[in-house]
């Protein structure tokens, strides 16, 4: 007998964080039938995330590869694993109360959240296009369900269906692209593609380029880059608000993780890609910001704002090189902090009866809930990129890296764009501080412990990382050096 196990380097220890999440999800699905114990689902999910986080920390600084080169567990992957767990945990804390108020609190939600997070981890850790695709699907299928989770709401149903159809469409592009790449390279393994790149590029140029282009479109859908962004506003507006918060951060970070792996590590030598990324970055920033100006709904505004933030990160990808790429990872973490914080406030406000997150509903918030509106202002300042928040530090790093590498026009367009964005972020602050609303129109908000926890974490992250960005930047650099 051949010793398949050692020949194929099957090493379960690479997958411990993923397995922890899967086990937690399975336990929740089983206990869902057990009446009272089903109420423990959020607690079980928290335990699953915590265990997974600890197991991820264990993997830091100890790069390993396994499963015939399909899995690479380097610092880059571990960094993203930790980010995904943080995003999902914060989402969970935001979601608890909201789902109870809306009467859709069901244990399956937490299982779906766990499995979706597991899919993201699979994506970030894969160096094989097939595994990447499977990870993407494991991430996306729960997202479709989560978007339509409020079955009593027509908007939520519409959101789920739209996301499902567009997502399936994007997956078809991605799969076709992978098939072309496989046709050109005779393998889906990125390491082997890198090793044979010159041979593939000279002999099967057309198929390789067609494949890479289609793969770019497929991932472009997931990170909501313009012109593949059309699904974003409706899906974000219709989905339950905590799910929207998750959409705007989690799948986006996972999409960027695989884009870094595929385009920066795998197909780095295709010169055309820089041009393609340049156009994508400019379009994504500009279109996202300009459309956000006209929104009357805070969720839709944040949807377009999340598009424009993807544009800033694309700037870092366009520039390339270790310095710039580490700023991309830095910005992803920073963006997670203040964007989730903003969404936590919006979610809290939406638990009031009859609220749909229109701008008008924010009026007079400073009077009824001064602390909450101060926090909202902080997150909006961070989104707009004001010092001393981490939003400023992140943008400063990205644009200065772009200027250093000689991409001056791109940096100028980026800075101009963040000036435009100031208008709609400040509008939130203006409405909550200076606009009046007739007394007693909306009940004042009660802050529950779970959402208070989220607000504290994100506020501390937004300010703390703004003052002391060094440690996070070092971690991002270590992550980038791990795969370059």
């Amino acid at each position: 007998m051949t010793d398949y196990v050692s020949a194929l380097s099957i090493d379960i220890s690479l997958l411990y964080p993923e397995i922890a999440l899967l086990v937690a999800a399975s336990v929740i699905l089983v206990t869902a039938f057990l009446g009272r114990i089903a109420r423990l689902a959020p607690a079980l999910a928290v335990i699953g995330f915590a265990v997974s986080f600890l197991l991820s920390i264990e993997q830091w600084g100890n790069p390993k590869a396994g499963f015939g080169g399909m899995v690479t567990c380097d610092d880059f992957g571990v960094m993203f694993k930790m980010l995904f767990v943080i995003v999902s945990l914060l989402t969970l804390f935001i979601a608890c109360r909201y789902f109870k108020v809306k009467g859709i609190d069901r244990p399956e939600f937490y299982a779906l959240l766990l499995i979706s997070t597991m899919g993201m981890m699979v994506m970030a850790n894969s160096t094989d296009l097939v595994v990447m695709f499977l990870g993407l699907e494991i991430m996306s299928v729960p997202l479709y369900v989560m978007a339509g989770f409020n079955r009593h709401s027509l908007m939520s149903n519409e959101s789920g269906i739209k996301y499902f159809i567009m997502g399936a469409f994007a997956s078809a592009f991605l799969l076709m692209g992978i098939a072309f790449v496989f046709g050109a390279a005779e393998t889906t393994n990125l390491r082997r593609i890198v090793a044979d790149f010159n041979y593939i590029a000279t002999n099967h140029r057309v198929y390789l380029y067609a494949g890479v282009g289609l793969v770019l479109i497929g991932f472009g859908f997931k990170i909501a880059a313009v012109p593949f962004h059309t699904w974003v506003p409706d899906v974000y507006e219709g989905a339950p608000t905590p799910v929207t918060a998750f959409f705007s951060v989690g799948p986006k970070a996972a999409g960027f993780a695989v884009m870094l792996r595929v385009f920066i590590f795998g197909f780095a030598d295709i010169g055309l890609l820089t041009g393609a990324f340049w156009i994508l970055a400019v379009l994504t920033m500009t279109v996202g910001n300009i459309l956000a100006l006209r929104q009357e709904n805070v969720k839709r505004m944040l949807a377009y704002s999340s598009i424009s933030h993807a544009g800033y990160i694309l700037v870092a990808l366009t520039v390339g090189g270790a310095d710039s790429l580490s700023t991309a990872i830095f910005y992803l973490v920073a963006y997670t902090m203040f964007n989730l914080g903003g969404f936590a406030v919006v979610t809290l406000l939406e638990t009031r009866a009859g609220c749909k997150s229109d701008f008008m509903e924010l009026s007079g918030l400073a009077k009824t809930n001064p602390y909450l509106s101060a926090l909202l202002a902080l997150f909006m300042f961070a989104l707009a990129g004001f010092p001393p928040t981490v939003g400023f530090v992140g943008k400063f790093y990205i644009f200065s890296a772009a200027v250093k590498a000689g991409f001056v026009p791109l940096a100028v367009i980026g800075v101009l764009n963040s000036f435009v964005s100031v208008y709609y972020y400040l509008r939130v602050i203006k409405t909550s501080y200076f606009d009046q609303l007739e007394e007693g129109r909306f009940a004042s908000v009660t802050v529950t412990p779970s959402i208070l926890f989220v607000l504290v974490i994100t506020a501390v992250g937004t300010l703390g990382l703004g003052f002391f960005p060094q440690r996070l930047l070092e971690m991002s650099q270590a992550a980038v050096f791990a795969f370059l």
Binding site: Y4, L8, I10, L22, L29, F67, G68, M70, V71, R106, E108, A111, L112, I115, M118, V122, D128, V130, V131, L134, G135, E137, I138, V141, P142, Y144, V145, G148, F149, R151, H152, S153, L154, G160
Partner: protein
């Protein structure tokens, strides 16, 4: 004439017959049933070629799963044989149909000419490599080199099932709430036109 050849011709004739009947039936249920007959006959051809795995998959996946799904959809949509499906009306669609048919026939002739005519020595049904299309080589790859993607596919199927149940399961009070909202939005729509 060996028994193999006899079986091949019987199954080949049945496959073509089933396919022809499938596209000429007006009743969609009968159409689906004829398609299943055709698929089963094709599976026999695959088995004769030594591609046991492909044959079994054809029966299990296509005939067993996908066609049953079709049947369910047809029955749920309540399509009857008497209804005109509107497929053969309109000049443009007829022109397109003929164009596509001619192209397909031309392609078929071209492929047969280029592939089979020079290779007469190997015969119509040449046997490929020993283990080709068998369960063993497929499963060997599936459980060794592609173990990780294989297991991930299992997770994907699990989450798809859970998701479908979450969205489709009816809780008490569901119906009322959805109709309420439908009425509400209908009311809003009429308000909008009035104003």
């Amino acid at each position: 004439m060996s028994i193999d050849t006899v079986i091949f011709f019987i199954s080949a004739v049945v496959a073509v017959f089933g396919a022809t009947m499938m596209i000429t039936q007006r009743n969609p249920v009968a159409s689906v049933l004829y398609f299943i007959v055709s698929l089963l006959a094709q599976a026999v051809c695959y088995v004769q070629l030594g591609a046991l795995f492909v044959g079994a998959m054809l029966v299990i996946v296509y005939a067993g799963a996908i066609m049953v799904l079709f049947l369910f959809v047809i029955m749920l949509l309540n399509l009857r044989g008497t209804e005109d499906l509107g497929a053969s009306t309109g000049r443009v669609s007829r022109f397109t149909k003929y164009l596509v048919s001619i192209l397909l026939i031309a392609e078929l002739v071209f492929v047969i000419k280029s592939v089979f005519i020079p290779a007469t020595t190997t015969g119509i049904m040449s046997m490929p490599a020993d283990e080709f299309g068998n369960v063993a080589p497929v499963s060997k790859l599936l459980f060794t080199r592609y173990l990780y993607p294989f297991e991930l596919t299992g997770v994907l199927l699990l989450v798809a099932i859970v998701g479908a149940v979450v969205l489709a399961k009816i809780d008490r009070g569901d119906k009322k709430r959805v109709t309420d909202e439908l009425e509400e939005s209908a009311g809003q729509a009429t308000d909008g036109t009035a104003g």
